[in-house]
Amino acid sequence: MNNLEITNTSLILSSVLIIIALIVDYKEQLGLGKDIFIAAVRAVVQLFVIGYLLSYIFKLDNTIVTLAMVLFIIFNAAYNAAKRAEGIQHAFRISLIAIGVGTLISLAVLFVSGALMWTPSQIVPITGMIASNAMTAIGVGYRTMNSKFKDQRQQVLERLALGADVNQASTAIIRDSIKSAMAPSVDRTKTVGLVSLPGMMSGLMFAGVDPTAAIRYQIVVMFMLIATTGFSTMISSYMAYKSYFNNRKQLLS
């Protein structure tokens, strides 16, 4: 195995990189200094906490605790996705269902196919990867939906006036929302390995796993992310569009 230990000294010395960023900020008067500083401190604290927590959970190897961690990740992802859903009612509930169902289905497929084993050290990081991608995708979907309902307000009204139901009046917008949410995953899958080596694969190679074995995991991960973003945003979009209408099937202003 490689030497994977980063000493405290190296860690502290590497914070020079943050100082470089702060110097850039000062020189260019970006006004980001406070944000950069807070972001760096937050990252250090959050990662140390999660590092110790994960280490504990992995050692414990208890099904209930692992499941609790999975739920915690899904809840957090839903909470963050919902923050981007301005104007959409029940955004948290919708996000929770979308991310929850999307994540659990992906986990189940990986589990049944034998690509994933029921150990916390596999389940927890994979859940994190799936849920964070679903979270970002759903957020993009919400934003697209919001801007399309603004831009295409007149078109939606015309459809309603012709006697269309709310789903028939929103078909194009729902489709655009899902498309925009999925596009980054699809693009990333197309260029994978050509532009950047993904984190999962890099991590495995860092840890000394042979690249030909590491890519197998990466392939599974890419497929999983496409499936999850697609499935989650489909659920969230089909639940969210309804909140633009009232029970008289009128478009809200």
């Binding site: 078109q155 012709l162 006697g163 269309a164 009128q250």
Partner: protein, 215 residues
């Protein structure tokens, strides 16, 4: 007395403390041809949208065939009481998409011959089917929006200044089409217009001033 097809009872609309329409009492019989006039901003479009249940009043009630329009399922109601917007944008990519939409929402197959015939009735050729909506003039959009509303005949047709962007010739053609719908098919017409010729064709004229009826 025969019940009116449409009846407004003290209909009012207030948005953010501002009175848009106030105490509108109206009774429209089946088959009537009514024009609505009034200064810009007096509430004509809003009234038609209330009648089409595109918005709901904040006071009073609107009856259709003797029952509050709230008792009807909105999509079924809007197929019977069809509103044509003042400035139609059209949706989708092509004219065909717009004319096929009424069929789509009724789960019926698009009748292309019928669509071509309808285009002809407003002075547009079959070539228009494949045109992009973004390439159309305001007047062309108005005419396509109008036939979109009448491919399946409604009971009541609510027209909102649908000839404002047309030249005299096309305006006459549309006027003829609308009168035919009224006389031959018995469609009840409520038509917001400022054109004096169009007004004299009607059997009744309603004036809206400051959100109130001055018949």
């Amino acid at each position: 007395m025969e019940t009116a097809i449409l009846q407004a009872q003290k209909l009012g609309l207030e948005i953010e403390g501002k009175t848009i329409l106030k105490d509108i009492d109206l009774s429209i019989s089946k088959g009537e041809f009514v024009t609505i006039t009034g200064p810009s901003g007096s509430g004509k479009s809003t009234l038609l949208q209330l009648v089409a249940s595109m918005i709901s009043p904040t006071s009073g009630d609107m009856l259709y065939k003797g029952k509050s329009i709230n008792t009807y399922e909105p999509t079924a109601y809007r197929k019977e009481v069809s509103y044509c917007f003042q400035t139609a944008n059209l949706f989708g990519e092509t004219v065909t998409e717009n004319l096929a939409f009424p069929y789509e929402i009724r789960k019926e197959t698009f009748d292309k011959d019928r669509a071509i015939e309808a285009l002809g009735s407003v002075g547009l050729s079959a070539d228009y089917l494949d045109k992009k909506v973004t390439s159309l003039s305001g007047g062309e959009k108005q005419r396509i929006a109008l036939i979109r509303n009448v491919l399946f005949l409604p009971e009541v047709l609510l027209l909102d200044e649908v000839t404002s962007a047309l030249d005299a010739e096309n305006r006459k053609a549309i006027g003829k089409t609308i009168r035919k719908l009224n006389k031959e098919k018995g469609v009840t017409i409520l038509w917001v217009t400022h054109n004096t010729e169009e007004i004299t064709e009607a059997n009744r004229k309603i004036d809206i001033v400051d959100g109130q009826v001055k018949e």
